[in-house]
Every structure is written in C-alpha cells, then in structure tokens.
Symmetry: C3
Subunit: 395 residues, 3 copies
C-alpha cells in the first residue's frame, strides 16, 4: 500500500485480539474509527467498507460488525441476538450449542470500532480459552456487558469475503477480479471479444472503442488508447500504446508506441523503445532501446538495438544492428528517409545520413554520407558448368 | 443481410408501432405473413420463428405472439388471458395492476402477423399514452376487440430472446453463439480440444477429423479441410486450408493452402498467397502474394513477397526477396528444383532458372540460368594475429 | 494400459454379458475379484473402485454393484430392492413398470464380482430378450435366485460415471480432467494464473513455485522444474525444463533445457536439442538437434541445426548454420567463447575454434582456427553521386 501508511508488525501470532493490540501504541491519543479487516480477502468491495464505517458513525455504536448468511455456516462464529434482535455477542463454532449452530448469520471478521471504546476493551481480553489465544471477538461481550451498543451490517455477497487458502483458491479469486475488471472496461466502452481470456491488471487504462482479442495480457502501468486493436495472443507490460494502434501476436515491454502504429504479428518490443506516429513494426522484429520517428517501417525479420531511426525510414528484411562487440553496446543513428536494403549489417557505432541508401547484403562499418549509396558486396558470378551435389547424386 | 432484401429506415423513433408503420408502403398490396422481431436478439433460433409462422397459418389467427416465462418478469409486458385461457391482450409492466404483475408469462416482442389484418389495425393506433409513443402492442387489443383471434407460442428458451444492451451483454451473447457453433462442428466430426478457447465464425466450414487446438480463431469465408491440425494460437481469416494441413502458432490471411501443407510455428501468411500440395512453411516465415508449387520448402526465417516458386524448391534460412526498391514492388520467379542458400538476397525483378543453385550469403541481382551456380561473395580470410576487443579488455 | 495387461477382444458385439464371457478362458482357474467397468468413463475415481472391491470382500457378496441417483433416471436400469432394502435385481428402463420407473437409484454398469460365482452364472444367461443380446445384468437375478447376496455401493458423483458419446461429450470430459489435473498441481505448489487456459497432460510433472501463464500446453513425458515461469502461449511436449527456466511464447519438442535458461518469446526448439545452465535462446530462434554448453547466448533471428556449441558463445542475430546441401545434413562445431557476427552463414561441415571471432555478414566455409578472426566480406563503398529511384521519381 506504499509509504503513506504506517505499518505495525505482529511478530508472535497470539490471536486476532493480540494482532489488534499491536496497533495500540500507534492508536494512542487518536479518535475516530478503526477499520479491522483481513489481509487476504481481496474481493471485498470498498462500498461495503464505506457503509460499515458510516453505520458505526450514524448509530454511535461502539462497533459495527459486518455479517453475512451462509447455507452451511459450519466453522464460522455465529451472531447471537436478543429476542428484540439486538446483537449480543459472537459465539465461535466450537463453543456453540445446537441452537446456536442453527443460526445462519455469521461473523465475517470485518469490523469498524470507535477507537476510544476499543482500546479499553482490548486491554481487558485474556487468552483463557481452549486455544490460549487473545480473541478480538471477546471485546464485543465486554462492550455489551458495559452497556455499549454494537451495530451490524449484513452483506449478501458472501463470496466477496472469502480469502484463498491455497493456490486453487488464489486462482478462484483472480478469476473473480479478472471478471470484475473486464466488466468495468466493457461498460466504459472497450470491446473485449472474450472476457474469459483477457487479463487486465488493476493499474491499466484503456480508451474507448478499443477491441481486445483473446489471449491478451495487459499488466503494470500500461495505458492503451482509443480505437486500438490489441491481440490476439499479446502481452503488454508497463507500456503506452497510443490511439489507433494495432498490436497482434506480440509482446511489448516498457515501451511507448505512438498513434496509429501497426505491430506484429510476432514482434518483440523491449524496454527503452519509443515510436512516433504511423510506425510499422512487422513480423519477427525485435526492438530494444530504439527510438523511431514518424512514418518509418521495420516490416520484417529485423533486430534493431540501441538505435535512433529518423522519419520515413524503410528498414529491409534481415537488417541487423551489430550493436555488441562482445564488451559494450554501441549506438546506430539512421537519419530521415534512409532506405536500408535486406540482410544488411549495420556495425555500430554508425551514422547513416539522411536520404542515404544501403545496398542489400552489405555490412556497413563506417559512416554513410547523406544521400549516398553505400554498398559492400561481391559481384554475382553464374557458374554454368557446375553440378550441384543433389543433382550429382541423382536426387 | 445483403442486397436481396428491401430495407426501410425509421428516421424518427416514435415507438414500436411507428417502426412497423414505416413498412406500410412496402407492404401495400401484399398478402401473407409479416414476421416482426428485434434486430438485437441474435440468439433466437430459426426453428422458433418457423414454428411461430406455422402457428399463425394453421390457426388462421390475425397474429401469433411469441411468449416466455420469467422467474422475475419485472419490466416486461404481461400476457393477459381470459378464464378459458385465450389471449386477450398485453399489459405493459408500468400499467399492470398487482394481479397482472403476478403473471409470469411475458411478451417477447416477436410476432407473426397476417399482413391484411395488421395494416388496418396499425392505422388505428395512437400515441395517447404516458410515453407519447405508438405501441405496436396496441394492435392486439384492437384486433381482439374486433373479434379476431390471437395465437400464442410459448418458448422455454428465454435466454435466446435476450438482446445485449452493453458490451458485457454483447460478450455474453457472443459466448453463447461461440458455444453453439462449436457444438455444431463437434457433432459433425471436428475435434475441438477446448471449445471455450476456440472461435469459429458463422461462415467457416471445417472437414471431418480435423483437430483444433486452443487459442484458434477462424473467421470470414474460411474453409478448413479434413484431417487437419489447426492451432494452438492460430488465426485464419478468409482462407482455404485443404485436407491434411497442419497450421500451428500462425496467422493466415486471404490465402489458399494446398493439401498436406505444414505451416508454422510462427508463420505469417498474407493475402495473395497460394500453395500446392506438401508445401512446408516453417518458423519465422512471411509470405506475401506468393505462389508455391508442390513439394517446396520455406523452412525458416524467410521473407518471400511477390514471388512465384516452382516445384521441389528449397529456400534457405534468411532468404529475402528484395521486392521493393522504395517505389514499386517487383516480382521474383524461382523455377523448379532451385536451391537457395542461406541469407541470400534475391533482388527483383529476377528469374532463377530451374535446377539452379544460389550460394549462401549471395546477393543476386541478375538472372541465374537453369542449373547454374550463382554466387556473390568474398573469400574467407582467417586473421590469426587478431585480438578481439573482448579478449583485449580481459573479459 | 501397456503390455503388462492381458487383453481379450470381443469380435462380435452380442451384449454386455457376451463381452464378459470373452474373458472366461482368461479367468479359468482364477479366484478373487473381477472388476467390470466401461472403457469410456475416464472420470471415475480410483477411490470409488477401491471401495467397491473392498465392499465385495468385506460382505462376502457374490457381487457388488455401483449405483447412483439421478434426478431424471430415464433410460437407465433401476435398482430393485426388497421391503427390507436388500438388492433383488436390475430392471432395464424399457422393461420397467410405472412404479419401477419412479425409482431414482440406477445401475452405473460398474460391478465387482467374485470370480467363482460369476463364471457359473455367466454360463447360464441367454439372449432371449427383445434385443437378442446377452445382458450381464441377468447374472444378478440368477445369483439372488440361488440365494447369493448382492452388495450395493451408492456414489453421489453421478458426473464421474458419464461416458462421452460424441465430441461434445469428449470435450466435456477433457474439461473435467483438465480441471482436476490443474487442481492437483496447484495444491502441490504450482501457481497457475488461469487454470481454465492451462493444459497439463497426465504424465507431466512440475516443480514447486513454478508459475504457468495462460495458453500453456504441457504434454507427453514433460518434466518442468521448480521456480520456472512458463508461458504465456507456450507448448512443451516430451521435454525436460530444469529449475529456474523462463519459457514464453515458444514451442519446445523433445528437448532438454538446463537450469536457468531463458527461452523466447517466439522460439522454436526442436527434437534433439539440449542445453546446459544459463543459456539464452531469444526471439525468432530455431534450434534443431543442437547441444549448447553453459552460459551461451542465441539471442535472436537464428537457425542452428545439427550443431555443437561450447561455453560462453555469443551467436549474432541472423546467424544460419547451412547444414543442408540438398542431400545430407552436416554438423557445425562452435567451440567455447566464440563470437559469431550477425547474418553469418556457417557452411557445414565446419569447426570454429575456441575464442574465434566471425565477422558480421561473413559466409564461413572452412575451419576457423582458435582465437582467429574469420572474415569474408567486401569493402564498403559510398557512392555519393548516386540518385535513388525513390528520389529520382520525386517520391
């Protein structure tokens, strides 16, 4: 929850009452409300907590207890009420008599306390019980014994209060959160072709009329613009994808894609990459720490690393920036309107001037002046007397 | 629904009765049945509509109304019946008294009318109601008042009548359609490993004993043959895939794959591509507007664009057709039984004659005669006194 | 079930009794229990079968019948009992009278027999019934008529007894098995981000704290270690992946990945490949029958086939082993600490000695001595008077 909160550590585990007691020093001299809830129930809605606090304040009760009803309440503490319906206490399942076990209303373990009423009650609880633990629920009998009122709020959404106890439960909770997040985005104008196969992290934002195809995973501080088409089978983490982009069968990590980019299928965009508008990153392309200006194309089978690419550049298939000499990485600068032929090697550090052309199959090791044609290849020879091994062996 | 239908536009939205009135001119002089249904309920089965029309005809009723029963009918128009059970009218939820609100049978909004009885009734409805709208349901009271009979057909499949009102609903409807389409293909002999993760468009056809792995999306006018293995993680749109093909982790757009092709993993087959039988398109291969004859192989890391490839050709890894000079695309012709070495550049326009060989690493700029060996590369030199930067720096 | 079992073939299909009769010869002289069950009900738990056998033994009954209760028992044989509740026989649905049809307890078709009581009863059943078939269920009336006792075991898990009759049912059964297998691994300490999108075969094993992302398919005799990250969108078949590996957006077939390898995105690792520890196989890389020693890197756009790669080797992007001359495959040996430049062609058979360097864009056709620099390329020329077609045409 970040550094804006104060954290208190319960080193020994001596019960729920003991856990809250750990906060006693931090609470000293404070007034107002203390919300007590579990750390492992991620599905509980903020609205429910807000309502519980509001109930405590409005009623002036010493505490407000969140309750729910279960078809099978076995194992849960039951809510005991007077004939008039007033809360009188909580009885743990193992201490409950048959009549009490028949009660379906159970304690969820979520409470809002008036701090000034909790602190003295907390000081009085003791571990004299079967478990030898300090039960937080003991404060309710102490409070009601002293004539204080305890309010209760019953929620119908028992599922939201479940905490996963193993990885099956964890997957179940993640499924619920995934569904809820996807519904939020659909209601805000995002088309999700199959919400069951779309994974959107809690910090992600997505613009209107973006369409998300199945197998898409959006995580971290990712921001996808409007009118994009994302997926299928795409993962984007900690990246910005501006309006009108298409990203399919690809991975994008810690990158920034400008408007109307087309990415993939099968592109791998790595950290430090940023593109301007209308850039095309095609199939089997890896970009690592590359900045590309507007209108440039890297259509296929290319590795660009540690490079700066100007406007309206065309990178031929098979182009490789040789950015690594075995020790350090060097930078390649490709200026505006350059045309790189296929299977070219650009040995960094290197500058290719604006409007220059690199011939297909060339290994470029030194600067290319603007508008020059750089070429480094052998003349083609056609040997007509030659017999190929596959012919010779009669295959 | 295409150009074979006549369309009528309701420019102002003055109610359902007004909507049907818009068709009055188109209906002039016509006899027979008029089926009225919503445009946003895609799940309604054709069988249900056929049964409704048949009921209208067989009973000679002025209209047949499709009804259903809901556990919670709140918001829906209720079907009012006489003690004998005859339909007497529809009462909207907000106009219904408590006894009427207790009725569970509701109007679905789907009707079959005898045109000659609908037209005069439609002329008599008025917008004198709370909403100021022309209600189509008003025609039923007019008809029954005039002594006409109204037939009803109750369907148990209330879900099929739901129309999505937002993108969550849209995803729900698509899920139902996906499930139904997948079941049709499974019952016709297609193995779908996980129907929840398989997306088959309504115009797609698939042959017997084809196996579809998860993450597969088949859309448009795609036709997949028998005994194919498609997916995982594959998208095929507007393409033909003939019998016995394997296509995995790949995308195929507007292409035609001949019998027993093997495609992928990670191939991108783009429009205008067609292959004959037993062609292999391996990993990291892009084909764009390429025709490939039987038995040829493009196994890896290749871009072929605007090319014609003969029979039993072998294309080495890293081969690139340099089809683009910065202005126009040119064509490469590779005749039968050619062998292209690795990392070759084929600078189009270019013809490589049958049986020719291109040496690895060659940039081929002019025609290669049949059976010739074309080579364009420098002799290897081994410099033994040289110390690599990574060695020099003691790394 | 393998060669440790004896199989008996029912060539003609003359009923369930006839099927068991086929085993009569194989049973001759045997004592003990015979478990009879269907071949098409894969979901039945081993525990249920064990309990059925135990019941037969403990009660000394001639047979124990597994029963269940169905809300709609239509079509199933009903369990008939005496007033005291003792099993007296099974009546097929079509032979049942209205009172019998009201019975909800049905025969599952799973039985445990005392062999010495089954064999004589089996000899006495006849096909004198409407179907002209030998019913196995006829043995129960024969046994009870002779005074033998029949025990019954009722299971509440009717779903587990369903056998798929078409591919829709098959997909349903596979869904149940997938869910069950995934839950086993989650409870054993594997994090499965979305169990609905994870496919783990029955022979696969997975270590603790491995995380599996959606779209992952693990099949065959695959063994994944601990602390791995597998997926998304990855298929691994018949392979070993040791501890601490990451494999994403990739396919691995019949390969062995050593500890702490990083694979993908978009790698294709084919049979015969094995790697030592801390090997990196990056994007758009195909390995086929390659052995790679510790610490080596094949980061991008590479095809290695039939190669042996030493320790701490760096393979530049675009490197191709030219292992195929059109007839046979040849082997490439790259010794320790070699550095291969980008877009190099390594024409096999070939040895590159330890510490050697291959210049970018070189086609290497003959041995490179240890620590040498091998280079095969033309000098770069910059033609400055040249006008590119795209400039000439004013584009």
């Amino acid at each position: 929850m970040g550094p804006d909160f104060q954290y208190v550590w319960q080193h020994e585990q001596l019960g729920t009452g003991h856990a809250v007691r750990m906060a006693q020093e931090a609470l000293a001299g404070r007034q107002g409300d203390l919300l007590v809830l579990y750390g492992d129930t991620p599905l509980i809605p903020a609205d429910t907590l807000t309502a519980l606090v509001a109930l405590r304040r409005e009623t002036g009760a010493a505490a407000a207890v969140l309750t729910t009803r279960l078809d099978d309440p076995t194992g849960y503490g039951r809510i005991i009420r007077s004939e008039a319906g007033a809360f009188t206490g909580i009885v743990e399942h193992k201490d409950a008599n048959p009549a009490e076990r028949a009660i379906g209303e159970v304690n969820t373990g979520v409470y809002c306390f008036a701090i000034n009423q909790l602190v003295p009650a907390l000081a009085r609880i003791s571990p004299r019980n079967a478990q030898g633990e300090y039960y937080l629920t003991d404060v309710f009998s102490l409070m009601t014994y002293d004539g204080a009122q305890i309010a209760t709020l019953e929620t119908g959404d028992a599922l939201a209060l479940m905490g996963p106890n193993d990885r099956v439960g964890l997957a179940g909770v993640e499924h619920c959160l995934k569904k809820a997040i996807n519904e939020i985005w659909m209601l805000q104008g995002v088309t999700i072709v199959d919400p069951a196969q779309t994974y959107i992290g809690p910090l992600v934002s997505i613009g209107n009329d973006t369409v998300i195809w199945p197998g898409t995973i959006l995580l971290g501080a990712t921001k996808v613009g409007s009118d994009c088409v994302i997926g299928p089978h795409t993962r984007i983490i900690d990246s910005v994808v501006e309006d009108g982009c298409e990203v399919q069968f690809s991975q994008v990590l810690a990158a920034h894609l400008g408007p109307e980019n087309k990415v993939g299928p099968f592109a791998n965009i790595r950290p430090g990459t940023s593109t301007a508008s209308q850039v095309k990153i095609g199939d089997f392309v890896e970009l690592k720490n590359v900045q590309i200006a507007a209108g440039s194309k890297v259509p296929h089978l290319t590795y660009l690393g540690d490079a700066l690419v100007g406007r309206k550049v065309n990178i031929g298939a098979g182009t490789i920036t040789c950015n690594y000499d075995g020790i350090t990485k060097h930078r390649t600068i490709i200026e505006d309107e350059v045309f790189i032929g296929s299977n070219a090697n650009l040995v960094a550090p290197l500058v290719i001037g604006s409007g220059a052309t690199v011939g297909a199959g060339s290994t470029i090791t030194k600067e290319v002046p603007a508008h020059a044609l750089a070429i480094a290849r052998s003349r083609q020879e056609n040997l007509t007397g030659w017999v190929a091994p596959r012919e010779r062996d009669g295959k």
